[in-house]
Each structure stands twice: as structure tokens, then as C-alpha cells.
Symmetry: C2
Subunit: 354 residues, 2 copies
């Protein structure tokens, strides 16, 4: 049914090679013959060489795969503004290189890493080393973001430890002593509170990068004679709207909340407003990531810019260039807006409400 190159070649009375050249290396074919072949192609309705055939022979797809955690799916992941910023960065590099982007789930199915038709992979959010196995086996170049997978793996990293430390220091300088944290949740479990307690196990909280944030926060607290152990940590998906209410319910004594995602920070501001808790007079809020809504919300959010666009761009460049084992560190930028202020003298008004 479908017209093939050989059909065109026959109709034009030339060999397959010549017909192929007409489409791929036109300058190698005499104008007259070229016109002959083009006429035959037109007459037969030939669309040009089938990419599937070309692919097998030529080897290169001109596409990079952006792998999305299977548990969320592509649709859910696109709801994250930071992921979209990251994707913009990937697209910048791909646009320049004339490559296309394939969005694919990290699922065992037919559309996953094992069978994607791409020249390489970028992992946008990763929980553990094992998720890289598939890409490694394909022997294609790949890059990882926000995850250190050892010296042989291309990675674009941000110094989240320093960022979180700076954020907590900023709050300490404002006089805050009682903090609450909202972390990204690893896997797809339900939102839950990790109550304060000495020696509690935080190793399952969040992704590798959230672990770094926790350590950065702990360090800043210790330098001020405080301990992270005495502070509540909420474990939630960035888009779970119940988290903000939960932490305000469970930790009314807190005067500052540091959320490891901008969406959660904004949710806290919104929820606080509904409860007539003033931000920043009663409660200071710091986020992580500088999404568009962070500057637009009221009050505008104090947050860390984690450079997602740059991350995506560099990761894509590594993959497109076929690099192996490159590591690039980026510095977060701390942006002070109006959601943080001096610690209130008393939390009486708030605790009374509970």
C-alpha cells in the first residue's frame, strides 16, 4: 500500500541509490534525473524517505528522551511549574541543535526507557540509582539532574545544602527559633507528619536533594544552638493542598515554615490567610524554586532560585554532545521577598485559636 523508495526508483527508471540521493543528497544528482525522480515521486504521492528505514541505517534519531518518574506519569509531572522550567532549558539546547524532545515515563511498558527511540536520556527527578539501570543498559549517553550518581554519570547539580543553610540563617537572623519544614515525599505515599523527637530517622524523607536541604538546615540550626530534631517535618507531594493546613494544625507554635517546594510555600501562605494568620507578621514562609507564581502571590514569596532552566539546558547539552561523566555544579540564588519578616514576640494569638 505505502509507496516506497524503490517504487519511485522504478517509475523513474533509476536505481534506488539515485532515488535516495535525490532526497538526501540532491546535489549529487544531475538536475535532469533529479527532476525525473521528483516527478515520479509526486505522481506516486511519495512523502520522502520513511524515517523508520532511514533510522535503522543512519543510526541517529536526533531526539533526546526526558524521563519522568513512572509513578507520576507525564501528565502529573507537567503540573509542576519547576519541571516545565526545566523542560524549557532542555528545549533551548534542543532547538539550537535541531533535536526534538521525547517525554517518556520511566515505566516498564512499551514506551519506557528500554524501547524509546532516542539518542540519549535526561532524568529530571530521580529517587534512587536503580532507576538509571535502563538507560545504562541502552549504552546511550544520559544525564541526571539534582542527583549525584557517581563520577561516571553526567550530572547537573545544585548546592542545595548551601541554599537551605542560607535560608534558615536568614530566618534565624530575623529572630525565629521554632521552625516547621515541608519536604518533598519520596515515592507515592500519603502526606504525613514526622513528629519531633531525638534521633528520629530522616533517611527516607524526600529525594537525595531534600536530604541535602535537611542537612543544610540542620547545620544552620546547630550553629545557633538549636536542633532539627525538635522541629516537625511534613512529608508531602508538592501539589497536595492538604499539607499546608496539616502543618498549621499540628505545629501551631511554629513561627517560620520552610517548604522544599514553591507550591507548598504558596499553599501555606494561602492557608494562613484563610486562618487570619498574617504573613510575615505572625508567620514567615520560605520556599524552594522560583516559579512565576512565587513572585505573584501575596505577599511575594522569599525563595531559592534553583536554576531549573540552566539545569535543563546543561543536561541536554551533555547528552547531545555525547558526554560521559561530566559534572556541573550550580549555585542557588536566595531571593528575599516579603513573605519573611521578624519573628513575632509571641505566638499567643495563634495558639489560642487552636
Amino acid at each position: 500500500m505505502a509507496v516506497r523508495l524503490i517504487d519511485v526508483a522504478r517509475a523513474a527508471n533509476v536505481s534506488r541509490s539515485t532515488a535516495s540521493n535525490v532526497f538526501t543528497n540532491p546535489e549529487r544528482v544531475r538536475p535532469q534525473l533529479r527532476a525525473q525522480v521528483e516527478a515520479a515521486a509526486k505522481a506516486l504521492g511519495y512523502a520522502g524517505p520513511d524515517p523508520k528505514g532511514r533510522l535503522l541505517r543512519a543510526g541517529k534519531v536526533n531526539a533526546v528522551g526526558v524521563v519522568v518518574p513512572g509513578q507520576w506519569g507525564v501528565a502529573d509531572t507537567l503540573r509542576s511549574p519547576v519541571f516545565v522550567q526545566f523542560l524549557q532549558g532542555v528545549a533551548k539546547a534542543c532547538d539550537k541543535a535541531g533535536a526534538s524532545i521525547v517525554l517518556l515515563p520511566d515505566a516498564p511498558g512499551i514506551s519506557g526507557v528500554a524501547s524509546a527511540v532516542v539518542d540519549g536520556f535526561i532524568f529530571g527527578r530521580i529517587g534512587q540509582m536503580e532507576q538509571l539501570q535502563g538507560a545504562r543498559r541502552r549504552k546511550l549517553p544520559f544525564a541526571v539532574v539534582d542527583f549525584n550518581a557517581g563520577p561516571e554519570v553526567n550530572a547537573v547539580l545544585i548546592d542545595a545544602h548551601a541554599g537551605a543553610k542560607a535560608a534558615v540563617k536568614h530566618l534565624l537572623d530575623l529572630g525565629h527559633r521554632r521552625f516547621g519544614f515541608i519536604s518533598f515525599i519520596r515515592g507515592s505515599g500519603p502526606t504525613h507528619l514526622i513528629a519531633p523527637g531525638p534521633g528520629r530517622d530522616l533517611s527516607k524523607v524526600g529525594l537525595q536533594i531534600d536530604q541535602e536541604k535537611l542537612r543544610g538546615a540542620a547545620e544552620a540550626l546547630e550553629e545557633a544552638g538549636l536542633s532539627l530534631d525538635s522541629m516537625p517535618i511534613l512529608n508531602a507531594q508538592p501539589w497536595d493542598d492538604s499539607a499546608a493546613g496539616l502543618i498549621l494544625d499540628e505545629a501551631p507554635q511554629v513561627t517560620a515554615i520552610f517548604a522544599f517546594s514553591a507550591m507548598q510555600a504558596i499553599a501555606v501562605i494561602r492557608e494562613a490567610k484563610q486562618r487570619e494568620i498574617r504573613v510575615p507578621a505572625d508567620l514567615s514562609v520560605v520556599g524552594y524554586n522560583d516559579i512565576p507564581a512565587a513572585a505573584q502571590c501575596n505577599p511575594p514569596l522569599t525563595t531559592l532560585d534553583s536554576q531549573p532552566v540552566e539545569k535543563g539546558r546543561i543536561a541536554a547539552e551533555f547528552v547531545l554532545a555525547g558526554e560521559r561523566g561530566r559534572q556541573q555544579y550550580l549555585a542557588p540564588r536566595f531571593i528575599v521577598r516579603q513573605s519573611t519578616g521578624p519573628a513575632p514576640l509571641s505566638t499567643l494569638r495563634r495558639t489560642l485559636r487552636v
Copy 2:
């Protein structure tokens, strides 16, 4: 260098067919032989069948291409929140079908429509029929959004005429008589004002869907005894921040602005605030598309929800199902928030400023 299926087959002392079956139809192979092949694969470091080879033989890629206008590039297009919502819809359908999404520019280059390795195309924003040529020649199913390309072309459409008419009626009911419009610009030209004037040519303004909006607006105006010809229209990219200032400069007499994108509407609100023009007391603003920022801005934006997620989902379903010539109409939802209010009694305060 790379290990192939045949290498594994030889090492395991079986035929290629059997080796192939181990990976593709394991249940057809006796456990013992299967283990033998798997051991050989492991020993050789074989990653499983190369998708490029499989593809050519099997025919189906399990991916749909989302085509982005070449003049903007993928990176620019991802800056549009509506496009991202649309992509979410596409992803919903693809996640369910186990397909991946390929983001590709509508450019002549190697990564374009002509050579993309996909099972079909979705056109997210289209200026003219000719852009469909490439997809048509590939003989793959494709769908178009917000563009009527005739009865043989799958399309998901929204009744923008009715939506725009409702929006203008809403403003008329509030007493407004002097309107300004900000349309999407076709192509990549610079932002410019189309001054009022009888019989001016509006056929080059915006895309097909913006033409519909203009007609809907004109109809509402005529029913109120007014003419679109007497109203200024600004032609701009949704992300051009200078447009809001320009229309406020050039059309100070206007009491209501209807922007054909939410981003422009929000920009007008922001710019008005800077000039101490009160919204909605001095100026009413209506947008098109209900992006997250529309509800969050201050005051929240009165706008039309154009159902981008649904559009994407349905378009993807058409393509995944191999449909041809389906047309689906969606109704826009008019959302009244706080950026529109009664027309001011006088625009004196504002005109004095100019």
C-alpha cells in the same frame, strides 16, 4: 562493537527467532532455553532488542508528535501556560495508552514533521493550512486544535465566537462603551497598534481563532449600536510585556480591555496598577484562557476558560485511535472574577494623566 541479537543467539546456541522470542514473547520459549539465552545476554551485556531495528519491522513507534510552530521553537512555546495545559491533556491520553510524546518544531530541519519518528501528529497552534502539508504527506493520522481545516481533518475546536461575544456583552451590561482589544499576532512581526478606522482590514490579525473572537466581539458591539471599527486593536505576542503599556498609552479613553490571551490581560492589570489606574474601578479587564496566574493575580481575572486540557486529551485520542475527519466542538466557560466592574462615570482622571 554493539552486541546484537544474533550474537546472543550464537552464544546461547539458539536461532535468532528463539532469542527474539525470549525478549518479546517469553512465554513461547521453554524455561530452560530461556534461562540459557538470558544468561548469554547478561554475559554479553545485551540490553534487549534495539528499538530501531524492532521499529522498522514492527511498524509502530508508540509516540505522538506535538508540533510547535517553527518560528517560536519549543523553548518559547513552553513559556505559554496554556500550551502547557494543552500538553497536560495530551499527556493524559498518552499516559493511558502507554505512548510517549515527542515535542517537535515545525521546521524544515532534520527534527521536523518530515522525519519525526512518531505514529501521528497534533498541531497545537496553527496559522494556515499549508502547515499541515508535511503531516498529510506522511499519511499518518493527525489532529488540529483551534483550527478548522475542513471535514477530512481531525479537529478539536472551541466556540470562540460565542465566548468573545459573551465577554463583550458582559462588559456592555456593565455600561462600558469604549473598548480596546489585544490580539494574538500572526507570524513573528513586532507588536503594533491597528488604529480605529472605518473598513480597516482585520484579516491579518491573529490566528483563525482570533478572527472568530473579533467577529464575536463585533457582533455583540453591533447589537449595542457600536462598531468594532472605532475601537483600537493591539497586535502582540502573548509574552510581549510592552503591549500593556502601549495600549494604555495609545488608547487612554478606553474603559475596558479585552485581551485574547490571559498573559496580556494580566500584564494590563499589572501595568495599570503601576500607573495608578484602578482595576476595575477605572478600567475593566477581560482575558482569554484560564491559566493558574489568572485566579491568583490581583484582582483575579475575569476570563474565558478555553478548555485546553480537554482539547489536548481529545486531540491525542483521535490520533492514537487512528481517526480521520473527526470534529469535536467544546464550549468555552466564562468566568467572572474581580477584574471587571461597572464602567466609570468619567475617564477624566485618566485622560488628564496623558
